[in-house]
Symmetry: C2
Subunit: 393 residues, 2 copies
């Protein structure tokens, strides 16, 4: 891994409200986010040279396989560009950002658009769940009934056994994130919960209860990236992509092989090395909390604390807004929502908004360095794709 030929900035971001958009097509959501980012950047559509599109499962849910990016970009009036689809399970949108970043870093392009979109709500939970199960190796997992809630539950059980963490700690993660979500007008679920509410909600896969799970929902998010040297043409407050790390292969390191680094560890190490900073320099993080226990695992794997100690941070309130390292100020995946192909860019939206100082009631004061952790998919017990972005102002 070497140094980039040139640096890249983000000069525009946008996201739709996450939720159940029964009257809107995937196209409608993607257009809303795309036009929002274009407006936010003040870029002319004709200046955009390449478009990277993240979507995970629209093939099964709407019947639109393969060229989904072209379909939505034509609707947005942006046909004619180089359009690249980057499906990568829950990491589809952060993969889109990563490829856009590299296309500009290479010198080929000056301005690119990354957009992520997903419509999971089709009025049929079983259909949505079956579609999400194809984000695995279907031959050995998806078709065999191996699926995410059960896997995260096994990790959670092991984590409790190893560390002394209790199910109350998992509930506290959800409580924190729902509290933050009430401060985010884009969040799908905007009501506070108590620890008892979370623990008493329907059991999904012990110890994971319903309110520890991200909901089914729809949404889109987008960002305009450009070469750092021209960023000020568009905005006075560009945010730099200091690094993006990416790996496949290892899942949470507790489950299978403690000697093998997890995908999060590999991606985070790459990102910190490239950015030339460490976890201690990060002011806020968006972490892929598809299920509340995962926020704790990933918090450790990124390197914010030693192994087995993340639950103490939630007890001490250190990951709350105002704490030493706020996590999921946006509401996280449990409250903000998780339309999978949009999630990585919604995280980028949150961090960019925070670094600009524009996050309103959920603002993390003085934030200068933010981290996005977005990934998912399951292949032979390993994670399919994990991205860690470091953004700075």
């Amino acid at each position: 891994m070497g140094a980039l030929a040139r640096q890249v900035s983000i000069v525009g971001v946008s996201m739709t409200k996450f939720g159940k958009h029964a009257g809107k097509r995937t196209k409608d959501l993607a257009c809303e986010a795309t036009w929002g980012a274009i407006k936010d950047a003040g870029v002319r559509p004709e200046d955009i040279e390449a478009i990277y599109c993240g979507n995970a499962v629209d093939g099964l849910l709407s019947g639109q396989e393969d060229v989904r990016g072209q379909v939505v970009m034509r609707e947005a009036g942006l046909a004619g560009k180089a359009i690249i689809n980057t499906p990568n399970a829950c990491a589809s949108a952060s993969t889109a950002v990563r490829e856009a970043w590299l296309s500009i870093a290479s010198g080929l392009y000056d301005v690119a658009l990354a957009v992520g979109f997903e419509k999971l709500y089709v009025g049929d939970t079983a259909k949505t769940t079956r579609a999400l199960a194809t984000c695995t190796d279907v031959e050995i997992e998806g078709n065999m009934g191996v699926f995410f809630p059960g896997l995260y539950a096994m990790d959670a059980k092991r984590y409790m056994y190893e560390t002394g963490c209790t199910r109350e700690h998992f509930a506290k993660v959800s409580v924190k994130n729902h509290k933050n979500g009430c401060l985010n007008p884009h969040a799908q679920i905007q009501h506070e919960l108590t620890v008892q509410d979370v623990l008493n909600s329907k059991m999904i896969a012990d110890p994971i209860t319903l309110y520890m799970c991200s909901p089914i929902g729809d949404g889109a998010a987008a960002a305009i990236l450009c070469a750092e040297g021209i960023a000020k043409r568009y905005r006075s407050d560009p945010v730099r992509i200091a690094a993006i790390g990416m790996a496949s292969g290892g899942y949470q390191d507790m489950r299978i092989d403690v000697e093998k680094p997890s995908a999060t560890q590999m991606a985070a190490r790459q990102a910190f090395e490239l950015a030339g900073i460490g976890p201690e320099d990060v002011d806020l993080a968006e972490i892929h909390s598809a299920f509340s226990p995962a926020e704790l695992f990933y918090f450790e794997e990124i390197g914010f604390c030693r192994k087995g100690e993340a639950w103490r941070f939630i007890d001490q309130g250190q990951t709350e807004i105002g704490g030493s390292i706020p996590v999921n100020a946006s509401g996280g995946l449990e409250s903000k929502g998780h339309p999978v192909g949009a999630t990585g860019l919604a995280m980028v939206y949150e961090v960019v908004t925070q670094l600009r100082g524009g996050a309103g009631k959920r603002q993390v004061e003085g934030a200068r360095v933010g981290l996005v952790h977005n990934g998912g998919g399951l292949i032979g017990g390993d994670v399919a794709a994990m991205c860690v972005h470091i953004l700075t102002r």
Copy 2:
């Protein structure tokens, strides 16, 4: 569009035989091509930093949506890398090459793998055809019965009307390509045809007959790319990627709006500009002849001759091996085959092999500059993705 920060070479290529591989899974085909390219390059698997995977319709044909690259790369023993999926209809594999190229040009990586794979033969032609029809905007095309043979047939009719070309000329394209395919051990169909054979074969969509169509088949192809500065570590005969152009939007310019440049025209112009050469400098070309008439349209759009004159070139034998500009020395899509997600990389395989002087009986003597034209998909009457690669030695 600007100059690249650094140049990129291809140091390894491989492809499976194209054909009906009833006993093999997509995974098996992808592994064979991957290991072949690794061996051809003499690269150590641990040196590969990122992997770009092209596949178009395996979601519908095998049930493996979304994370197809990770699934096959785990089987190949290459889990743990950054793995990116690049589905883009018939341009999936050339999109994979393009993204691998940019990832190295950016400075981030030194060595990357691009692989394309597709298993179209599932013993059910209707199922395969329905899957391919999702490489359109299904809302306005695929689900409405608008599909590729009919569209190409309309183009062909218009071309005949405009230029004086006859259906015999389309047949001659197929005859040439089948003749070339007999010299290619990887080709799916290896028997010669006469003009009468082609014209008398089953009518698919007038004037397109069965033998003017690419067959249903399976296959995979792969390439190892690296920074030009280290290419000689691996091989003494690296091939440079001089440029890749990419565009969506315009289809053949005759159909809808003669004032609008086609995707091929846009992608070719970008590629020639970046490479600093013109069509007259190209020694051989692989052109996306999914249907024989298209070879003529695209030949003109790339700029090899003036509009409306390509059929004269086929009459004069100029596109044969030994002619002034050999086209589809590999056998083209009609004879070599067209497992869609593998096709772009099979074209790269052919051009690299030719530039190395290793194409045996189908060798284009003294070839120094080769062009790959690969694209497809249909969005609102426009092409979804078109790539033009220029490779040089």
